[in-house]
């Protein structure tokens, strides 16, 4: 029996997503597919699998990515789905937490991957926002925009601003997590 849940997690909430998937697994809903805004589960044995999420390295899409996936398969970890850089892994439940990254340094690298793509998004949306602002301040003085166009531009402008602010919030959150990890690393003198 399949169950579709409409839900969305922002990239910087990858760990919340992971927690939620594990909770669903505990209730007997095993993840089988991930689509745009949707998670597809299959009813099965409760608590049989553990889940972990990862934002893959760019090269992970290519051949070296296949190598990594095989490396994980060797350790009994199966890739449920990869969607836009996000990988959903599962393994049969074993004692201990299922974590892809365990030391502060590798966790920081993982966060840095997310942050760099989020910065790219900020630039991308920022460019469009800039264009909307130009349109609003009467970029084309000789041909002023009609009321409808004006409203549309205003709507887009507000939407883009909201998206960008949200991205900044996400980047800020990840930076804070990194700060905590760095403090841990100092304590442990770990530098891999």
């Amino acid at each position: 029996m399949k169950r579709v849940v409409w839900k969305h997690f922002a990239l910087w909430k990858l760990d919340e997503e992971e927690k939620w998937l594990n909770k669903m697994g505990e209730e007997g809903y095993n993840l089988v597919d991930v689509k745009w805004m949707r998670y597809i589960f299959e009813r099965g044995q409760a608590g049989k699998y553990q889940y972990a999420t990862e934002y893959l390295e760019k090269s992970s899409y290519g051949r070296s990515g296949q190598e990594y996936i095989e490396f994980l398969a060797d350790a009994g970890i199966e890739l449920v789905k990869e969607r836009r850089g996000r990988a959903y892994f599962c393994r049969e439940k074993r004692p201990g937490k299922f974590q892809i990254y365990t030391d502060p340094s590798s966790k920081i690298k993982h966060f840095n991957r997310m942050i760099s793509v989020m910065v790219l998004w900020v630039l991308f949306f920022g460019y469009y926002l800039f264009e909307r602002v130009l349109a609003l301040v009467g970029y084309d003085v000789f041909k002023p925009p009609s009321r409808e166009i004006y409203r549309l531009e205003l709507f887009l402008g507000i939407l883009l601003t909201a998206i960008i602010l949200n991205l900044f919030r996400g980047i800020f959150k990840l930076q804070n997590k990194k700060k905590d990890l760095r403090a841990q690393r100092k304590g442990k003198d770990d530098e891999t």
């Binding site: 892809i100 990254y101 590798s106 003198d189 891999t192």
Partner: protein, 106 residues
């Protein structure tokens, strides 16, 4: 010892120690868990990154497990072995000094 060497992290130390004989990724994780009696449980992502770093440094290499097998094992190089030996000497010094000083206090 002419040149001093930076202390190895526990992660690197135990990976090198696991690769005196050829071993695959999962085997390394299990070996480290066994050696440390479960104290260090290394995530596969962390291990994969560390193996790539060590290979780039020339401390370990990838070896084919069998002909035509796609599965790869890892093995320590002579350079890696030297690093490991020096680290053990450094740790021995730490422990020796610690014990003698503490013994004196008692």
């Amino acid at each position: 010892m002419a040149e001093s060497q930076e202390a190895l992290t526990e992660t690197v130390y135990y990976i090198l120690l696991s690769l005196l004989d050829p071993l695959h990724g999962y085997g390394i994780m299990q070996n480290i868990e066994n050696l440390t009696k479960g104290r260090i449980s290394m995530g596969p992502g962390t291990l994969y990154g560390a193996l790539n770093t060590l290979a780039a440094k020339g401390w370990i290499i990838q070896v084919e497990r069998e002909k035509k097998s796609r599965k790869k094992d890892y093995l320590i190089t002579n350079q890696g072995r030297e690093v490991l030996v020096r680290e053990v000497e450094r740790l021995e010094e730490l422990v020796r000094n610690g014990k003698s000083e503490l013994g004196g206090v008692k």
